[in-house]
Structures are given as C-alpha cells and as structure tokens.
C-alpha cells in the first residue's frame, strides 16, 4: 500500500460524498431525528441524559450506513468506472481502504454534528465523560462494522438498491441477534450477546473498555472487508 496512492483514492471518494448534496441531506435527516431524541427528555422530562440518543443511534445507523455505502462499488460497476479504477496501478486493497475510510469520514462528520448534545449536557450539569466518550467510540465502531458489511454488499452487485437491502438485512440481523437474549436457551445467551451489536455498545456506553468488545468490532469489520476484498480482487486472480 502506497500512501500517496491511497490519499489520491481517498480524496476522490471523499469528493464523491462531500461534493454532492445527497450526503448532506442524509446527515441532516439523521441529525434532526437524533436531535429530537436528545431534546425530548431534556425539555419534556427535564432529564439531561444522552441515553435516548445513544440507545436509538444504532437503529438510525442501520439505515444511514447502508445508504452511504451502497454506491461505493455498485455504482462504479454499473457505470464502468470500476474497470478504469482497477486498471490503474493501485492495489485492490488500496481501493477498498479508500472507500472504507471515506465512508467513515462521512460517519465521523455526522457524529461530529451531535457533539452539541454532550456540550449541552455539560452546560446544564456534569455528565459522565467516560460514558460519553465510550458512547461515541461505540457508535463509531458500530458504524465501522456496518460500513464493512455495506461495502461487502456493494461489491456483490451493480444495483445500489440491492446493495442497500442486503446490507440493511444483514446489519439488522446483527442488531436483532443482540435483542433475543431473553428468548434463547441459557446456553446460547453468551453467543447471542457476543454476536449482537447491543451488548458491546452498552458496555462501551457505560465507559467500560473491554478488549472482547474491541475484538468483536475488529473481527466482524475485518471479516466483511476481507470478503469485499475477495470479491474485487478475485476478478484478477480467479481464472
């Protein structure tokens, strides 16, 4: 991986996001919904807490992240520019990394827009900064996991809608599996807790930094990025 090439690819991917209104529209919609979730308990119940936002954020991300990743490979495959990109002297891993990092740049941009919430909490009282930082780290890592799933889904097809649906369904499964704790045999609860997104985000939101949670995010993200890599690089290596 050459950094200069990676930077050029990353700039191109970021421009594709930030030079078009679609990313801003999606971000504004997400911020409006999350803003309501934060402000409702503050003004209605006089509760200065971040929980309503952090609890609902993963659900919002199930829509937001597949929406921003669906075009990454599918659009290029449909328009034919993937052929241009793949015949330039860039490693397939560079192309994949640039697309993933660009999606994360947009996620970071969106999360940065919510910084106002803990700042408001700080103005009204003294929030648990460990929990706030943990929540943001957890949301960012959750988004990274969903972005890896979305990137893989986008590498499967030329159709962006299909890429969105595949990514959403798989992400929803990861979300749902963490919610079935009370409905599965006791022997399986450990497994469902580990596979689901919920338990890891919950621990981080409490300010607990557990290597098992980091391992979960790294392994799921890594696995789907690897599958996306196989899909794209396979064309060049499979006879």
């Amino acid at each position: 991986m050459r950094l200069r090439v990676l930077r050029a690819l990353l700039v191109k991917e970021c421009r594709a996001y930030f030079d078009t209104p679609a990313a801003y529209v999606v971000t504004i919609v997400i911020l409006l919904i999350s803003g309501y979730l934060f402000a409702a308990p503050l003004f209605i119940q006089s509760l200065a807490v971040l929980n309503a936002f952090t609890d609902a954020a993963p659900l919002l991300m199930l829509f937001f992240v597949p929406a921003i990743t669906m075009r990454l490979y599918a659009e290029e495959a449909k328009s034919g520019t993937l052929e241009v990109l793949c015949t330039l002297p860039a490693e397939d891993i560079d192309v994949l990394a640039a697309k993933f990092l660009a999606a994360m740049a947009l996620v970071t941009f969106m999360l940065a827009g919510t910084i106002l919430y803990p700042v408001t909490l700080a103005a009204l009282g003294s929030p648990d900064w460990g929990g706030v930082l943990g929540s943001y780290a957890g949301l960012w890592l959750t988004a990274a996991t969903l972005a890896a799933v979305g990137l893989w889904a986008s590498s499967l097809t030329r159709n962006q809608v299909v890429a969105f649906i595949v990514a959403f369904l798989l992400s929803f499964c990861l979300f749902l599996i963490g919610k079935v704790h009370d409905y599965v045999p006791l022997a399986l609860t450990g497994l469902t807790d580990f596979l689901g997104l919920d338990s890891h985000l919950a621990r981080l939101s409490r300010g607990v930094l557990d290597t098992r949670d980091l391992l979960y995010y790294a392994s799921v993200s890594g696995y789907f990025l690897y599958l996306a890599y196989l899909n794209t690089a396979g064309r060049r290596s499979k006879p």
Partner: protein, 307 residues
C-alpha cells in the same frame, strides 16, 4: 512488446477467448477486428490486467498479466470500451486524479498533464464537468488519461465508436501521432480506421483467431479470383448473362438493374477485361464502365468473420 500464448478466457460455460496467440512488435499498430461478441473486449480486459486469463499467458512490456499485474498497469495505457469516466469530476480533476494514482510526482505530474492536454487538445474544456462534455471530448479525455504516464503500450477498445465523422478524424489523427512512438493494440469495428492506422491486423471469430497479417497479406489471402464489374445501358440482362457466361472461366455472375443501367459482376480465373470489351463492341452494347474490383478489407472481414 505484446505477446499472447494460447490465451483463453472462459465465463462459466462460455468460452469467450480460445487459444489466442500473436505478437505485437514495438511501435507497431495492430488492428484487432471481429464481429460483436468475438472476444475483442475480453482479450483487452485480460491484457489490461482487469481480468485473469483462464489459461495461457500474456506479457506486455515484459510483464506477465497475472504475475506482474501492478507493474503491467504502470506501463500500459488503457482506454476501455464505452470510455467510462467519473462524470462528476471536471477534466482537470480527473487527469490530476489519474496522475496521482499513477504516482506521477511534481514537477513531472504537471508536465505530463500539460502534454496529454495538448496532445488531445483539451485546453478549452479543462474546467468543465466531464458529464457535460460531448462524446468527442469525452473520448479525448479517456485518451488523455490513457497516455498521461507516457506508456510504452496503448490498448484502445473502440476509440472512435459513436463519434461523428469529424470527431472520428480527430481521434484517428491522434492515434496516428501516437503510433510513431508507442505500441498500439486497437480494437475497432471501423475498417477504414484499420486501413488508415494499422500495420497489421488480427481478425477474431468466436474467440478464435481467424486471420493475422498485414492488410496486403489478408487481401491477397482472401482474393481467390479477380472480380470484374461492367455497367451497360439498355441491355437485356438475361441475354448479356448468357453471352458472358460462355467466356472462359467465368463464375459467380450476378447483375442488378437500376433504371436503364445494369451492373454485372463476375469472377474469373484470369483477366477478362479485353475479352469482355471485344464482346461488348461486337454485340453493340452501350458500355458505360468496365473495371476490376479491388478486394477490400471489408470483403476480407466478411469472408473470414461473417456475423
């Protein structure tokens, strides 16, 4: 410079390219002909490093398409079929992006961009979004990106497809300028383009090589018997045919009447122009035209690779 040895590419059950072998010498322009679906684009995709061959090998500028794919892509310029481009970028952005991914560094980068822009006469549209350009300009942008790094080898997949005659001439002139210093593999449907630009030609048919050689060699190979064409006014076609068919060695005699004129064409083992002329004089035919029909690349193409 370009060497294919028993190259094959299969998509599932479909054999797109089969056992293809040929070489292109340095600074040679090789025309790559064949009907739709003959395997031209697939071959170029393999040579550009986009697809892996199913079997066989190909080397370009000393780089194997599979083992040295990255180095090969550094040395080869490729214009894919339909010339896909990032339409939301403007021309300058696109060329800068391509130059950066090709790791061209300042001040070499700006020199190469300037040179490509001059070669493809893109100076007037540098700040325009690619999506708003005419097809001719888009084609030039694709060509500029392909020659940006001054590659030794150019793979061009139908570079004039869909262009109007003026745009076609401009792109053809550009290819003719490039061919002085580069090895070019030019896939096209446009036969005059091959005659104008190519030193040699490969004709593909259903993924296999139907012919390979210079245009003269292909013409000689395909022209089995000289053809003769005569145009008569106010002739009785059937009577003329009966008389002409008695001349020695006449075959494939056909005619077509349009108004008062009838065009006859025939094949013969030897030159029958004099015999036909004397017959016309003796019979009192009004002879408007008499001449040999030179074999064309089009007739060779139709003969070797019928659709």
């Amino acid at each position: 410079m370009i060497s294919l040895k028993a190259l094959s590419k299969r998509y599932g059950d479909t054999l797109a390219v089969s056992d293809l072998s040929f070489e292109v010498q340095p600074r040679e322009v090789m025309g790559f002909l064949g009907p739709n679906g003959a395997g031209k684009t697939t071959t170029l995709r393999v040579l550009s490093g986009y697809l892996a061959p199913t079997s066989g090998t190909a080397t370009l500028a000393g780089c194997d398409v599979q083992k040295d794919s990255l180095e090969l892509r550094r040395r080869v310029g490729y214009l894919p079929e339909n010339n896909p481009l990032y339409e939301d970028m403007d021309v300058a952005e696109y060329l800068d992006f391509t130059a950066r991914v090709r790791d061209l560094r300042p001040p070499h980068r700006s020199e190469r961009i300037r040179s490509a822009v001059e070669s493809c006469t893109l100076g007037d549209v540098l700040t325009k979004p690619i999506g708003l350009l005419s097809k001719g300009f888009r084609q030039r942008v694709g060509l500029a990106a392909a020659i940006l790094h001054d590659p030794q080898i150019l793979l061009l997949d139908e570079p004039t497809s869909g262009l109007d005659p003026n745009q076609t001439r401009e792109v053809r002139e550009l290819i003719n300028r490039l061919k002085r210093e580069k090895t070019v593999l030019l896939s096209t449907h446009i036969l005059p383009e091959v005659e104008a630009s190519c030193d040699r030609v490969v004709i593909l048919k259903q993924g296999r090589m139907a012919a390979c050689g210079t245009i003269q060699e292909l013409l000689a190979k395909a022209t089995s018997s000289p053809k003769l064409r005569l145009v008569l006014r106010n002739a009785d076609p059937e009577a003329v045919r009966a008389i002409l068919s008695k001349l020695q060695g006449v075959a494939n005699l056909t005619h077509e009447t349009s108004g008062a004129e009838t065009v006859f064409s025939l094949e013969a083992a030897e030159d029958l122009r004099e015999a036909v002329f004397r017959t016309a004089v003796d019979r009192g035919w009004t002879l408007l035209e008499l001449g040999r029909v030179e074999a064309s690349l089009e007739s060779v193409f139709q003969e070797l690779a019928p659709s």
